[in-house]
Amino acid sequence: MLISVQTEDFDVTEVSRQLCKNRQDIGAITTFSGQVRDKSPDRNLLALELEHYPGMTEKSLTAIAEQAQSRWDIDDLAVIHRVGRLAPGENIVLVVVISAHRKDAFAACEFLMDYLKTQAPFWKKEITKNGEHWVEFKDSDRQASERWD
């Protein structure tokens, strides 16, 4: 299990390769990458600032990952979340799940993202040409998370 909170970028191929190393029993690899997205029509977003709670963030990611492992038939997984200042188009988060079975790999990957969004202590601030503001919690994220309960 690979859990990391870091400022550096990640490479999906590299992380997948690392998880599959020396294995020949993996049929399915699912990945989710989240990127900084400029929702404004006029490209107003300059950057996103990602804040976390050192110590607790890692612990909650590990707890979420352990839940995924107990709920689905998966072989290994990685969760990497970046913090600091990120420009539009840059990577924010990566989830990789490897398994013999694609259904489990898909479900676990989606679960990890939904839980991470609502339960891991990260906060986003948008730095725009017109000023800064904290990103509001989305009710759709709460609903996405609750369907796994």
């Binding site: 804040e51 709670y53 607790m56 891991a120 202590p121 906060w123 986003k124 601030k125 990103v135 919690f137």
Partner: protein, 84 residues
Amino acid sequence: MAKLLYFASLREALDKDSEQLSLPADITTVAQLKDFLATRGAQWQAAFTEDAVLLVSVNQQMAQADSAISDADEIAFFPPVTGG
């Protein structure tokens, strides 16, 4: 001494990211600590009133209003999370 932490918009509103606090003897729950902090002035009152959606963790585990706290704990307050 308890360690208090404040994150994100709350940190900015209070202009403080952490502090050491000797918990008064009559403060034994999260709710009591919030009531105590709310007396510190306008910003604090706004942040720690009932309607403000504020999450709290005790020793890096999510906690509730009635969770017990002691003088050795790390207690963090923060807004709903928005990672990913």
